[in-house]
């Protein structure tokens, strides 16, 4: 197996990020930033993010990197993580954990106000976390939020830093209000979001006057908008990233944070069906698919967690093994014809599904691609929830209907959890893909974090000339 140095990607990302972050002049105020994105969320409520809300058949993509980034423009979490993954104070200024990490107390920052002027309180923060996590025991105690978990939870801080745990105050009309640097002034679900700078943001008014986000745009339309100067920042399809960087455009790329996988819609009903699923996993020629269809982007994957996140991903072989696949297939007498679903709006998804069907045929399996809603298995893009491997694995496990219920521990325990999840044959990892964005030369000081989320709170628009 070829040794892949993921650091090259991160370095590339950091360099681009650094170029974006470095300013010849101090940040300038003013201007409206135009962003285009493929996701088309129907709701702004951060609690709608998360594995239980991931509906692969839904093109709205309830959870995506763009969606998470969008959330952080309007809402804040109790804590945040820096680029090194270290937890930092945010709406909470300090915290304490009882022995065993079951009871956590977070002291709320004073002087923070929601966009409607309501002061942030422990009661509102507790209510928000309860709504997002019904199984948690969350209460307010004076100026603190107390979270009690049934089991020890060393990953709670990383969990609280996720966008889906942002603090939200529900207005009487049902609209969410946050404490982030921007508040929304226009909202057409799934189509358009218009944000304006919050003059009284506790972290200071953002440099931009506003942001206009067009949603539901195909990758091609986004790139056209960038080329015509109608957008300042757009998403880039993984298979287009290489070409766009060669064209000399400003491109930022994250670490591989997205899992492209086959997800069976139900559990294997018998040992024979498990053998057939194993045969399919062994038949896929990940290497050549990457080189041709993905244009060299991403990494073949046989593990759920990318190697850079776990440190052991290379143990899972990604090489196709047709003899073994055929051997597994031949142990089963009756082979059903499966349908493989894909997202019809994803230009490369159909090609991938067709190529996987060809590989399956070589192993004696029958796989029929379909863009219809129901299928036996689906080709899915799963944005890994966090650089914290335990949280990322737990989210994928929940998505596969196999919650792990465990977080934190030794790397060997993580490996055992991942092996157990893969052994269910519910999910077949194919690739780990980075997230890429292209930006106009006028956009300064924006950052694409290695976890695939972008931050625009400190971004500003210049004239684009050196």
């Amino acid at each position: 197996m070829r040794l892949f140095d993921w650091r090259s990607l991160v370095v590339s990302s950091m360099v681009i990020g650094a170029l974006a972050a470095k300013a010849e002049t101090r940040p300038q105020y003013g201007g409206v930033l135009h962003v285009a994105m493929r996701a088309a969320p129907a709701s702004l409520d951060p609690a709608d993010l998360g594995p239980t809300n991931f509906v692969p058949a839904d093109n709205a993509q309830p959870d995506s990197f763009a969606r998470r980034s969008l959330t952080t423009l309007m809402f804040d979490t109790l804590v945040t993580t820096d680029e090194s993954g270290r937890v930092q104070p945010w709406l909470a200024v300090s915290w304490q954990a009882s022995p065993g990490n079951q009871r956590w107390q977070f002291r709320i920052r004073r002087g923070v106000k929601f966009h409607d002027g309501t002061p942030l309180s422990a009661e509102i923060a507790a209510a928000s976390l309860r709504a997002a996590n019904p199984s948690w025991n969350v209460s307010a105690d004076s100026d603190s939020v107390v979270i009690e978990r049934a089991n020890t939870d060393p990953a709670l801080l990383a969990e609280l830093a996720l966008a889906r745990n942002a603090i939200v105050k529900k207005n009487p009309d049902g609209t969410p209000s946050g404490t982030g640097p921007f508040h929304f002034t226009g909202w057409q679900p799934g189509k358009m979001l218009i944000l304006a700078a919050d003059e009284n943001c506790w972290r200071g008014r953002p440099f931009l006057d506003g942001i206009e986000i067009e949603m539901g745009k195909s990758f091609r339309d986004q790139m056209t908008a960038l080329e015509l100067g109608k957008a300042d920042m757009v998403e880039v399809a993984p298979e287009q990233a290489h070409r766009i960087s060669q064209e000399g455009r400003r491109l930022a790329t994250s670490a591989p944070m997205e899992l492209l996988a086959l997800l069976f819609t139900r559990e294997a009903a018998s040992p024979e069906e498990k053998l057939l699923r194993e045969a399919l996993a062994l038949a896929v020629e990940r290497g050549s698919i990457r080189n041709v269809l993905l244009q060299g982007t991403g990494q073949p994957a046989a593990s759920i967690l990318p190697n850079w996140m776990s440190g052991y991903g290379f143990v899972f072989s990604t090489d196709a093994d047709l003899p073994r696949a055929r051997h597994a297939r031949e142990q089963v007498h009756t082979v059903p014809a499966w349908t493989i679903g894909y997202d019809g709006s994803d230009p490369v998804a159909r090609l991938l599904a067709e190529r996987i069907a060809l590989n399956a045929k070589d192993a004696g399996l029958s796989l029929q691609p379909t863009s219809a809603g129901s299928a036996d298995l689906r080709l899915v893009r799963i944005p890994l929830a966090s650089p914290d491997p335990w949280i990322a694995l737990a989210d994928v496990a929940t998505l596969a209907g196999k919650p792990t219920g465990k977080a934190g521990g030794a790397v060997e325990d993580l490996y055992a959890s991942e092996v157990a999840l893969l052994a269910t044959q519910r999910i077949v990892p194919l690739f780990h893909l980075p997230v890429s964005y292209a930006a106009s030369v006028t956009l300064n000081n924006w950052t694409l974090r290695s976890d695939g989320n972008w931050t625009l709170a400190d971004a500003w628009l210049g004239n684009g000339k050196p």
Partner: protein
């Protein structure tokens, strides 16, 4: 409740690493010897004890294979250097031998063990894949914390601009005022977003004397800026957007902050005819330059352009981030780094605009070198980070008179202000490698 895992940062008391430049000339031979000695020391200091994870992994391997003949391969897939990788490989071999393993060729082996030295963001992860006969591959692994590494770079600047480390902390530094010094600073005030912290050098270590909280009603703007100005009749004043704070005169110090749009001083007090008790040598010999100030936008990161007093016919200039002055024989030339990225040179009669490719922070220092005044200007370098360079203005075109000085860790310069005496400047930077903020005194040296 116990087991606190995090609390608000306590102001750092990291000792300043003052750059002690030897004044005695070194012979080349001694310099080479010294370099080798330092290199050896550095290598020794970087050596890490890997014996714990080596023993741990060896035990896990032997728990699978049992004692006997094993074929072993070790591959480094991590950021570990070749030297560390070899040390670990030898350590693993020794640990395995100690547990009864004999190393043989693959053909003679009862088991093959492939060890990969890998890593994730927080740890080194060492994975052993063990194959015995035609059975399944067994995988065992251990992890070891990754130490925070740092690289040291040093640029030998032939002349002119020297940087001297003053202070490091995790929170952004807005300004630093040196309140007392002998040959090196012995008492400093550090301005950040919430406090003015006073530190005194005692027995080689900086000890915090007092932290004075800054009271402000409104949230600070992003890209917060601020100035600390030592005063004659009290200790110091602090200027922040929309807020001015004045300390009391004697101990225990108090700080009185009020919302105001009072102008920020542009001319170091040491050059404007005043002299400070803490700097008896400063000011008295300096040609007096009239005090001048500029209004700072209370919710932004720039000066509004309104000057007080004005400079001849100009009472207002373009909005600017920073200003430097250059006294001429009959007039004072002001150089403004405007918010539009251009440099405005205002002499009282003309406002000449130039695009010099400078950054937005500049200041001037009065020295005994060259033309007597130099402008220190920032510029955005390549990926190595921002830098500062000294310029002189024989006429209206700047001439670089020093090499560009950059900072460790691909640093980004966040502020550059002249010190009270006017002959040195302080650069505040953010170290992108460590994420910490550092302050350096910049001094122009005359000799090569």
């Amino acid at each position: 409740m116990r087991g606190a895992v995090y609390n608000l940062a306590i102001p750092n008391t990291i000792p300043s690493s003052v750059n002690r430049v030897s004044r005695s000339p070194l012979s080349p031979r001694f310099a080479v010897q010294l370099s080798f000695a330092l290199l050896a020391l550095a290598m020794a200091a970087r050596a890490t004890d890997w014996s714990g994870p080596e023993q741990q992994l060896a035990r896990k391997i032997v728990a699978v294979t049992g004692p006997g003949a094993v074929a072993l391969t070790v591959e480094n897939r991590s950021s570990l250097g070749k030297r560390d990788s070899e040390i670990i490989q030898n350590g693993l071999r020794s640990a395995l031998e100690g547990l009864g393993i004999r190393f043989v060729n693959a053909e003679q082996a009862a088991a093959t063990v492939s060890i990969s030295l890998s890593e994730n963001p927080s740890s080194y992860v060492w994975v052993a894949e063990i194959r015995q006969g035609a059975g399944e591959v067994a995988v065992v692994m251990v992890s070891a914390p990754r130490p925070a590494g740092s690289t040291t770079t040093h640029e030998s600047v032939p002349l002119s601009l020297r940087k001297i480390s003053l202070w490091t902390q995790q929170d952004p530094i807005l300004d630093i005022a040196v309140l007392e010094e002998n040959t090196t600073p012995t008492r400093i005030a550090v301005l950040d977003a919430e406090n003015i912290s006073l530190y005194r050098l005692q027995a080689g270590k900086w000890q915090q004397e007092q932290a004075l909280g800054i009271v402000h009603a409104r949230p600070w703007p992003r890209d917060l800026r601020g100035r600390l100005i030592p005063a004659k009749d009290h200790l110091l004043d602090a200027y922040l957007p929309g807020v001015m704070c004045r300390s009391s005169a004697g101990a225990p110090l108090t700080l009185n902050c009020r919302e105001t749009d009072d102008p920020w001083p542009l001319v170091p007090a040491g050059l404007s005819g005043g002299s400070f008790s803490v700097f008896p040598s400063a000011g008295s010999s300096a040609a007096a330059i009239p005090p001048a100030g500029a209004f700072f936008a209370p919710t932004r990161n720039f000066f509004t352009g309104a000057l007080t007093p004005g400079t001849s016919k100009f009472t207002t200039v373009s909005k600017f981030y920073s200003a430097a002055m250059l006294p001429r024989e009959k007039y004072l030339l002001w150089i403004f780094a405007s918010t539009d990225g251009r440099v405005h040179m205002v002499d009282g009669m003309n406002d000449q605009v130039a695009k010099l490719g400078w950054g937005s922070d500049l200041t001037s220092v009065k020295t005994t070198c060259g033309a007597g005044w130099q402008v220190l200007a920032t510029s955005s370098g390549d990926q190595a980070g921002d830098s500062v360079r000294a310029y002189e203005f024989p006429d209206r075109d700047p001439v670089a008179v020093s090499a560009a000085v950059d900072f460790q860790g691909g640093a980004i310069i966040t502020a550059l202000w002249a010190e009270a005496k006017g002959d040195t400047a302080i650069a505040m930077v953010r170290n992108r490698e460590t994420g910490s903020y550092e302050a350096f005194r910049l001094a122009v040296a005359c000799s090569q």
